[in-house]
Subunit: 614 residues, 2 copies
């Protein structure tokens, strides 16, 4: 039973929060006040009702509860909460949406209390799932993860991926708070205020549910009290709310989404709010001072063992690498989308099953969960077919704004996968990952370089994409060879080189075969393994361009945004002509060799192009 | 009550189908026989049990029922069905997975009975939804759309988007057939053979459900009989099946996914199948000979009305254009992701409400549905924020392999959207859409060119992406100006041009402002509106390069895969230096002008760059 004192306290804090929401959005002239007002009691009760356990002086404390605003446009509410907790002043709040302020229009990690950037709807539950997995199965800490959800965004399929996976993993430490305010951006949602419609669906996915009046402080507190007692199910608290609650002329009205009040409207609203006690502050309970058991790097690292005469698929080397380097990177985890026997993440899974997470055929949730894990200090390696990483492009896109440390590994690159045909072929993945700000894009051509680059990726702080090949390819390098992000390897070089051929993956091996054939005819080419497409080894490329006077790039990828364009940008304003071989015809089923020839990226095509241009 | 004769007939056809499945995959040495064997009775009953209505001689007949294999890897079953219907010979089947054969590893539209290419899981239900929407609300024909689904792929969130939207639109003409064979690619699915787990979830989403033995012909036929009587709900038929059914040593065994039988195993399997009557053929019922009411283009096309002195946002011009051109393109439909008041699809919605489909915040399903509509002869214009189109990149990717005729319209391009911040900013969209084979990428800079290019897009057969801007921008062109895909406009030109500045969208206007400022200092630049980024106007670019000796590209987009790289590829091997201004720093909230300056893509930055390089 909640005391009247407590209820009154929270009521006053809620009033202050409403004031802040209106104040900051009116000042900024933009923002989403009505979406923030509807969830005010839901969040005030959470933070200041003794539920949430968070050391406000130490936002990164490992046993803090976590709060994610999946409905990221309610950022005014988020900042107002922390102001009510005493962490922001009214002067800080004045900077909302202003250039350079950490209080951005949608939450980003510029503001220290933001767990991860949100704003593209339907992503918060995945991120929370990652953090909950971390608590339950990795750090083994009792912190809970709360995710504020909007009703409109429940249409996003990614939410249902999160729901089924959270239920499957019995994440009772994941609590969704659903703000059912009935109105989407341009009218009513599909279910309006029919809370049972949500409850029916969510509970069918194995979640514990509870519905209540989303503005009744006693009802909300009771709901949270029940939620924290869940033992083996995640919990969805479903509150009926009013969009714009607290300001009568914007309550429950269409046309007020994403619309700040004008000065005159704001003054009217303030009158309605009445006297605001601006001195009131809310107390947030402290968490238990617990830390995760420290993972100690240790044990000797196994040596590479790739006999020079035995071809190995780079996708297999990936799996070997993960298992091999884990001792050095004890924060490493592996996530895979039900294809671990194809990506070879299964090798890691068999060696360290407690560090492997089957994420099923649900790539969006897999990437969101990886972001959550990354934000809690883990190094997630996320694997599936390169083509299927495109399923999660929006999640990858958002992770750019969260200082994410995620390694994406896409297997089955290009037409060279053969008979399965184009639906399984990654032909746009280099373009997709190059376009991510600050990303690293690696494309190793043999098992040794794959292993070394997986190590480099684990060592690197940021988003990395590694492209692996389906077929076995020959070993090119000895175990002592070093590979750096931003480097390249020149595999064939002479004073008589008439052109430089740049390849990666299967096309590098095609280039080496072309080299042999051309050599027989007395024509010499330089061959470069461009294992680091981004950042690119500009110095080596310029040197090769200067020396050989013609560049030919060859990639098992569509032309746009791929290796060829990366080389053109890297060789910016070099006068040397660049010719790009790439996949230019609609691919189809066929043997790998047939397809490489058909797409004119095979040794035959390289030889032909060399002869044409020298 | 089904006659014994009928049951025996279907049993014999199923045996023949099993023979074909094993035959073609063993011959090809690859494929997914076990996944095909589990659904054999489910499909044999559908096609040959008097349920499916399809004119096998006329696959494109508008009132044919439609069959989509969402579990595209069961392609052997798909082809075997049509062989059993008499449309393929054993000689044809021998070509399975061979280069040049229409019988590809996963279905593509090279085979005339394939409605749309599948193979990336979780997409078939969306495509079917589009076809069902078409039947019910556009063509107003009684055909039904059947979608064969795998159990593993029900983890994909996109399926749940389809389910909620199909239920919302009361698509009783959409029937899912769920093949619950328990085994995914590398082990058991989350729910195994727990049919109730699926039934509970699916029915909570408003679908009618029925469970049964997926190998019992009478039970399956009874299920279909019930399904076709649905009046206002879509239907999910949930069959318990055995992966590899029919061949004892591969039935219900892990490790047999995507694995063809070896010759010895095949011979053993044939012994188990026993005597196969290879002469048996199945009859498919004919549909009613109905056609959609013909849409007649007609009525005078309204003239453009953009006074030269009144800036208009290109996103608004988009909405105007759709409404204006509908009379010319009566097959046009508009789909939007709950942001029609932002994308301005609402203008079309208000004019032609029966041609507009609210698809809610579920972009994956929206794109799949658009593909379905496109395959049924409609011209879908799919709109949302450019950033959120990345949510459906895998669906866009697959549509490449279906001869899709879809127009994607992404609003809120770049940092210039301002205060909402990076989660809402499209900065990778040009790269994403350029990477799609055969795509057209358009980026109009004013209302007039937007209107004309929307027309061109509607006229063009294929995938088009149009990028629109949030802010109002000045009118640049008169109503008589013509715009062609692959064209460009040179807006400022003189004999004294010291550089060519190429822009689009907001950066074009920045370039024009830079022109004015530089002119005052006696420095002249050529300014090109590159409204067609792909295909690119190579001839004009080469001419400008030759005349002005320096190119500067400026785009509100990340550098990789964007306009700058498109120009570099287009100007391949031109000796003229190319300098690219693009978004290179992590974006943040702020006023549009502040952000353009911060990212060095504003008039100030252009002026600075011009002075630096000339």
């Amino acid at each position: 039973m909640v005391s009247e004192t407590k209820i009154e306290e929270i009521r006053k804090i809620a009033a202050l929060i409403r004031y802040y929401i209106l104040f900051m959005t009116t000042e900024a002239g933009s923002g989403h006040p009505t979406s923030s007002l509807s969830a005010t009691e839901l969040m005030a009760c959470l933070l200041f009702g003794g539920i949430f356990r968070f050391d406000v002086d130490h936002p990164k404390c490992p046993n803090n509860d976590r709060l994610i605003f999946s409905k990221g446009h309610a950022s005014p509410l988020f900042y107002a909460l922390w102001a009510a907790a005493g962490e922001l002043t009214e002067k800080d709040i004045l900077t909302y949406r202003k250039f350079g302020s950490p209080l951005e229009g949608h939450p980003t990690v510029a503001f220290p209390y933001v767990e991860a950037a949100t704003g593209s709807l339907g992503q918060g539950l995945s991120i929370g799932l990652g953090m909950a997995l971390n608590a339950k199965l990795l750090d083994k800490l009792p912190y809970r993860t709360y995710v504020l959800l909007g009703d409109s965004e429940m249409a996003e399929g990614s939410q249902w991926e999160s729901m089924e996976i959270a239920s499957h993993y019995k994440l009772n430490n994941l609590i969704g708070v659903l703000d059912v305010n009935r109105l989407g951006q341009r009218g009513e949602t599909m279910y309006g205020w029919d809370l049972e419609a949500y409850e029916k669906r969510v509970s069918s996915f194995g979640w514990k549910t509870r519905t209540f009046d989303g503005h009744s402080i006693p009802e909300i507190l009771a709901a949270y009290e029940e939620a924290v007692r869940a033992t083996d199910q995640p919990v969805m608290l479903i509150g009926k709310t009013i969009k714009g609650k607290g300001v009568s002329f914007i309550e429950n009205k269409n046309g007020w989404h994403g619309r700040a009040l004008k000065r005159e409207e704001y003054n009217r609203a303030l009158k309605e709010l009445g006297e605001i006690d601006k001195s009131v502050r809310g107390e947030v309970s402290l968490p238990e001072d617990l830390k995760p058991k420290e993972q100690v790097a240790g044990g000797p690292v196994k040596k590479l063992d790739y006999p020079a005469d035995k071809p190995v698929a780079t996708r297999k080397a990936y799996g070997n690498a993960l298992a091999r380097i884990f001792q050095q990177f004890p924060n490493l985890v592996s996530l895979d989308g039900e294809v671990s026997n194809s990506t070879y993440a299964e090798i890691f899974k068999e060696a360290f099953p407690e560090r492997f997470f089957e994420m099923y055929i649900a790539e969006q949730n897999m990437v969101g969960a990886a972001l959550g894990l990354s934000r809690r200090g883990k190094i997630p390696f996320v694997s599936t077919f390169g083509a299927f990483l495109s399923r999660a492009f929006d999640q990858v896109r958002l992770s750019q704004y969260s200082d994410a440390n995620i390694k994406f590994v896409g297997s089955h690159a290009g037409v060279s996968i053969g008979e399965d045909g184009p639906s399984q072929m990654a032909l746009e993945d280099i373009a997709m990952f190059r376009a991510i700000l600050g990303s690293v894009v690696l494309y190793p051509s043999d098992a040794v370089s794959t292993e070394r680059l997986v190590e480099e990726a684990a060592r690197h702080d940021g988003i990395v994409f590694i492209r692996t090949t389906r077929m076995e390819t020959p070993i090119l390098y000895g175990p002592e060879e070093k590979f750096a992000i931003g480097g390249s390897k020149t595999l064939r070089k002479s004073e008589k080189d008439r052109a430089t051929v740049i390849g990666a993956g299967v096309t590098l091996h095609e280039a080496l075969a072309a080299y042999e054939a051309l050599k027989k005819e007395g024509v010499f080419i330089r061959v470069i393994d461009l294992y680091s497409i981004k950042p690119i080894d500009e110095a080596t490329l310029r040197q090769a361009a200067g020396a050989t006077r013609t560049i030919i790039t060859v990639e098992d990828h569509y032309p746009e945004g791929g290796m060829g364009e990366a080389v053109r940008s890297g060789l910016s304003n070099s006068p040397v002509p660049i010719h790009s071989l790439a996949v230019r015809k609609k691919p189809k089923s066929g043997k790998p060799g047939e397809l490489l020839d058909y797409e004119e990226i095979s040794r035959v095509a390289i030889i032909k192009k060399v002869k044409e241009v020298v």
